[in-house]
């Protein structure tokens, strides 16, 4: 990992983005420090996914400034950017006609030249990543035959193999059972603490977001409405502002950050 002068991985300043006439992001500013675990939260349609895609230049355009490791995003070739940032898309029942190993190998693309085959070093790295992510057991299976949880692990493995400094994830645990959710979280925490990968994850799961991340950014209607430490967002007033919903918070037995508990359904008494 290349040390940047100010230790900032991604800096977004006054960034706005529209699709057609609709303004999706409005004057968004925030920064992601190297090695940080950042969660982006907010209601549906707040622009979280769009923001993530703009950071990896999957969506182009918009006004304002995005810097990646001190260099403006526009100054990168896509291949160079891929060595800095990797991306795990939202799970959508992808049916790609590849085996797990073939798919994960494609993560090495930014380091390949045309006509070349994948080298020994690449293969070794893929093997290691498959083992780290617990996907080695089904390396030869077709992606379409995997369960949702297995597939998500494979997507993360492919992103990790890319060897980028920053990992962007779009709702990595949505639709998964508790077991797989826990496994995915462990994977991400390991990548963050052991390999020093900067993690930026979009999530609807506030409880886990506050327990795992170093910082939280909340979007609402395309604007940043909260940017701070996890402890600060766990406040019924702040949360109510973001989600337009009442929240019930309780103290967590193992952490000094309170967590949300579901409130009783309001039923009219007969």
């Amino acid at each position: 990992m290349q040390a940047s002068a100010d230790k900032t991985a991604i800096k977004v300043r006054d960034f706005s983005f529209r699709i057609g006439a609709k303004e999706i992001l409005r004057n968004v500013s925030f920064r992601v420090e190297q090695g940080q675990y950042l969660a982006i939260v907010g209601p549906n349609g707040a622009g979280k996914t769009t923001l993530l895609k703009c950071l990896d230049r999957i969506l182009t355009g918009g006004t304002g400034r995005i810097e990646v490791f001190g260099r403006p995003l526009k100054g990168y070739r896509q291949r160079q950017l891929a060595r800095r940032i990797s991306y795990v898309p939202q799970a959508e029942g992808h049916l790609w006609p590849y085996t797990v190993e073939q798919f994960v190998l494609m993560g090495r693309y930014p380091y390949l030249s045309p006509f070349s085959t994948v080298g020994k070093e690449d293969r070794r790295l893929v093997r290691r990543t498959l083992e780290q992510t617990g996907t080695a057991a089904f390396a030869d299976r077709m992606l379409r035959t995997l369960s949702g949880g297995e597939r998500q692990k494979v997507l993360i493995a492919a992103a990790l193999v890319q060897g980028a400094d920053v990992l962007l994830l779009d709702e990595p645990t949505t639709f998964l059972d508790y077991h797989h959710q826990t496994e995915i979280r462990k994977l991400l925490c390991d990548a963050n603490t052991r390999s020093g990968v900067t993690v930026v994850t979009v999530t609807h799961d506030l409880n886990h977001a506050v327990l795992e991340s170093d910082r939280i950014v909340a979007l609402r209607e395309g604007r940043v409405v909260f940017d701070g430490r996890p402890g600060e967002i766990m406040n019924p007033e702040v949360l109510g502002e973001i989600y337009d919903t009442p929240f019930v918070l309780v103290d967590h037995p193992q952490s000094d950050v309170p967590v949300i508990v579901p409130s009783l359904p309001s039923r009219e008494t007969p």
């Binding site: 950017l81 990797s86 992808h94 790609w96 006609p97 590849y98 073939q102 045309p114 890319q162």
Partner: protein, 335 residues
């Protein structure tokens, strides 16, 4: 190395077909003619000046159409995307029809080994592909199903323009356009046609072979491809350019030959998987050999009458494809 073995088998199959096909036809030529040649000038003449150019042409055409079909299927991530369904074939046909109708010859093109019809067909193919490409750019999130429907509409539009041209042409031209639009290889009677297709087919194939890593990633979707470092817009332009080179070049000489572009890539995908580093050479070999085989059958089944090769490609390829599909449906599919 299972996939390597499949590739080797395909290579041997292609070489075998290429070696045997020139000797078969309405008049079979015994192998010994080659060394006892001098006493049978006519047969040698048929072999060198008619059969071999035609077989070479069939191989080039089959390979080019199959590879361009593979490219469209990967870029649009749709098993039904082919030069036909996207209107590229009919665009090329329209270009050629206009050329025949206007009686353009542009003799100076002969110096660079091209004919006016080739250039017009290429122009038509490019126009169709630009239309399709423009449509994908015009609106974000244009689904591939919509794309295909648009392609079919473009295809019908061009086809009716061709009919219109036939309607206003005189009898001779109408016949030339009609005969040409049936597709086939029987008009290939010397090496001239082969030389005029070769740069298109070879150029297109080289571009596609250069972009096999990108094709793999495009198959997983443009977003993921971008995040892995593929310059999607540029790669797409390159691939579309390659595909229109191949389709335009082939259609200009052989007219629209159906089925190879749709089925050959699918058959190869079932045989060797969807990794384009292996799939591309496999499709090239199989598509070429398959069309040579079909053309040989077309020449011999009802000799001396020749069947249009399109009939044979579908009759032979259809059942074979269905059999493969049913036999391998377990885990690897088309998608």
């Amino acid at each position: 190395m299972k996939r390597g073995a499949v590739l080797l088998v395909l290579l041997l199959f292609a070489l075998l077909v290429l070696a045997v096909a020139p000797f078969l036809g309405s008049e079979n030529i015994p192998l010994r003619t080659l060394w006892e040649g001098s006493n049978d000038e006519a047969k040698l003449n048929i072999l060198w000046n008619i059969r071999i150019p035609r077989v070479a042409m069939a191989f080039l055409a089959g390979a080019a159409l199959a590879v361009s079909g593979m490219v469209f299927q990967a870029v649009f991530r749709n098993p039904l995307a082919t030069p036909f369904t996207l209107g590229v074939s009919s665009g090329a046909s329209l270009g050629a029809a206009i050329c025949i109708h206007r009686q353009w010859t542009w003799a100076y093109l002969a110096y660079v080994g091209l004919s006016a019809t080739s250039v017009c067909a290429l122009g038509g193919a490019m126009l169709a592909i630009l239309l399709v490409y423009g449509l994908t750019r015009a609106r974000r999130g244009f689904s591939t199903a919509t794309m295909l429907l648009a392609g079919v509409a473009v295809s019908f539009f061009f086809s009716s323009l061709i009919l219109f041209l036939q309607y206003i042409s005189d009898f001779t031209k109408t016949y030339r356009i009609l005969r040409w639009s049936m597709g086939g290889l029987e008009q290939v009677v010397d090496f001239g046609d082969v030389y005029s297709v070769l740069p298109f087919a070879a150029g297109g194939c080289v571009i596609v072979l250069y972009l096999t890593h990108e094709l793999n990633l495009m198959t997983t979707g443009e977003e993921l491809a971008t995040s892995r470092g593929v310059e999607v817009a540029r790669v797409k332009k390159g691939l579309f350019f390659a595909a229109s080179l191949m389709v335009g070049g082939v259609v200009a000489i052989c007219g629209p030959i159906g089925f190879v572009g749709l089925m050959a890539p699918h058959i190869c995908r079932l045989l060797i998987g969807a990794d384009h580093r292996y799939l591309t050479p496999a499709t090239l070999l199989f598509g070429g050999a398959f069309l040579v085989l079909c053309d040989t059958l077309a020449r011999t089944l009802m000799a001396p009458t020749e069947l249009p090769v399109g009939i044979v490609t579908a009759l032979l390829g259809g059942p074979f494809f269905l059999w493969l599909l049913l036999a391998r449906v377990s885990d690897e599919g088309i998608g």
